[in-house]
């Protein structure tokens, strides 16, 4: 039996790696998740017959509890995952990731409870004596990381889901965070020498608060980096708890995700020209003063009819979609408009900023959902030189990714971020709900430029009006 179980975990680890590998190519991606899913199912099923569990003193009640917990947790996740809209995917990933971090942290908590119990009954002199020094250290480390990932991910979810808007909690937040981090580490060390539960409980509470405090000041535009980072951290925590439990499948899956996630975080931060440390300690939009506002002229409005005519007679139209388009569910209408323009002989391209949407590739998912073929979609590097040959750039629901102050205003919080050079095209039409600043809270001079016309209104409604305007010609 033991051999069968170990062989199953081994097979699961292989399936995870092969699955992730297949997920890195569009052709095999779907097979990849199915393989990884098969590995997970196998690993979960054989765990039910593991001798450690079936032979434990409370085996029956514990097995029933396991089934109930899986039914509730898995059932809720299944239901929420099936009904979530594609636009809300990032925050759901954040939530599920947070749950994983929480699970890793609570596994460590069970181990620490057991060890404390042994110490109190005089079976061991200290927690490292009960668990082994290496197990104790990695277990506590996993507990810190997992707990921060848990509470931080929940905050990330709340912010992206529009349930939490504040980005300031306390004055001198960074100092408070630093002190809190030190205190958390201090209590983590004290667990090593603890003989009762008090320092453990204080440690968990501190780590929970630390995760919250770290994440709250992070600006909305930086959220993808944070979610990716927490994803990597959860992986790491899972790997460490895998060592605690002596489970190789957990170690391998956790560490693979930890390193893959770290690299992904780095790639995302590079795309936004920000370092990961910067994301945590700067907080775009939280303290932009009057500097960025006031110097602009006036936004010039345009009606859908005129905009439609402008695009119909253009030689090339570049559409720059942002998250706002997805929120307005306008992607299908935009694709319809695109087809009409192509029928009229206009060259239409989609320009995707690396961080368009809420995560790299999120916008591609949303456009794929609407049926936009891949060969019309261009990355930033491929399209930027082409803007000077473009008659009309249609910006819909995007803001920061076309903000020229990222290039020419060193006082802007966005300064240095690579942008789509929409301002180089002959005309820019911006579809926007209102006159407010973007997701990051930074004003956009492009909206006030001479060659820019604003088409105010809901994205889907505006797209509809444009379709009508083009059809009537």
């Amino acid at each position: 039996m033991e051999l069968l179980i170990q062989a199953s975990y081994f097979a699961a680890a292989v399936l995870f790696i092969l699955g992730l590998k297949q997920m890195s190519s569009p052709v095999t991606a779907r097979r990849g998740i199915v393989w990884a899913g098969a590995g997970m199912l196998l690993a979960t099923l054989v765990t039910f017959v593991a001798p450690e569990i079936t032979g434990s003193s409370h085996a029956n009640i514990n097995l029933i509890l396991i089934i109930i917990a899986i039914a509730i947790g898995g059932g809720y996740a299944w239901w929420s995952g099936k009904k979530v809209a594609m636009t809300d995917m990032p925050q759901m990933i954040a939530m599920y990731n947070g749950m994983g971090g929480g699970a890793a942290a609570t596994i460590a908590a069970v181990e620490l409870l057991k060890a404390t119990d042994e110490v109190e009954r005089g079976l061991a002199s200290s927690i490292p004596d009960a668990l082994g020094a290496d197990v104790a250290i990695l277990g506590i480390l996993g507990a810190i990381i997992g707990t921060i990932s848990f509470s931080g991910s929940i905050i990330a979810w709340a912010k992206l889901d529009g349930r939490l808007h504040r980005s300031k909690l306390l004055p001198a937040q960074h100092l408070v965070n630093a002190a809190l981090a030190l205190a958390t580490v201090g209590f983590a060390i004290s667990i090593y020498f603890a003989t009762d539960l008090t320092p453990i409980i204080v440690f968990y509470l501190l780590a929970l608060v630390l995760g919250i405090f770290i994440t709250v000041p992070v600006g909305g535009a930086d959220m993808p980096v944070i979610i990716s980072l927490f994803n990597a951290l959860t992986g790491l925590a899972v790997g460490f708890e895998g060592y605690v439990l002596g489970n190789a499948a957990m170690i391998i899956a956790g560490i693979v995700v930890g390193s893959a996630g770290s690299l992904l975080t780095h790639l995302m931060a590079v795309a936004m020209n920000r370092s990961v440390a910067n994301v945590f300690f700067a907080g775009v939009g939280t303290d932009t003063g009057a500097a960025a506002t006031g110097e602009q002229g006036e936004m010039k409005e345009i009606q859908a009819q005129d905009a439609g005519i402008m695009m119909s007679f253009a030689s090339q139209v570049v559409i720059i979609p942002g998250y706002g388009m997805a929120v307005a569910q306008a992607q299908h209408k935009i694709w319809e408009l695109t087809q009409l323009l192509i029928d009229r002989g206009v060259s239409v391209k989609f320009a995707i900023h690396p961080v368009a949407g809420r995560m790299p590739g999120h916008m591609n998912v949303l456009l794929a959902e609407a049926g936009v073929p891949y060969d019309l979609i261009y990355d930033m590097e491929d399209i930027n030189a082409d803007f000077k040959n473009t008659t009309v750039s249609l910006v819909i629901g995007a803001n920061d990714v076309v903000n020229p102050s990222a290039k020419n205003d060193s006082s802007s919080p966005l300064y240095g971020m690579p942008i789509l050079d929409a301002m180089n095209s002959d005309n820019v039409i911006v579809i926007k709900r209102g006159r407010g600043a973007g997701f990051s809270g930074v004003e956009n001079p492009l909206f006030f430029a001479d060659n820019t016309r604003m088409l105010f209104g809901d994205g889907q409604k505006a797209a509809n009006e444009l379709i009508q305007a083009v059809k009537e010609l």
Partner: protein
């Protein structure tokens, strides 16, 4: 059990594996891949099952129950959203030339 040094090798090799996998991914798949890797660390469910399975006191059972609950959420939720996302990529792949 996996002892010290052997574990260190596993950590190192797994680390390189993760690095290799993602360094070849096109940007368009970053979101599904992040979601997929999020699913993979749902293996924490197995650890949580052990934690609850060998629990002896009510306190351990309560904490272990939470662990399994959260772990199951991670695994199931991660699978469902990743699968949904990758399913949408399928039709686009069939017509790489684009039909306009």
């Amino acid at each position: 059990m996996i002892e010290g040094l052997a574990a260190l090798y596993i950590f190192m090799l797994a680390g390189f594996t993760g690095f290799e996998i993602i360094s070849r991914v096109p940007v368009i798949l970053h979101t599904p891949l992040m979601s997929g890797s999020n699913f993979v660390h749902g293996i924490v469910l197995v650890g949580a099952m052990f934690a609850l399975g060998i629990a002896e006191t009510p306190a351990e059972q309560v904490v272990g129950f939470i662990a399994v609950l959260l772990g199951a959420g991670n695994a199931v939720g991660g699978y469902v959203v990743t699968e949904r996302m990758l399913e949408m990529f399928k039709p686009s792949d069939k017509k790489p030339g684009g039909e306009g």
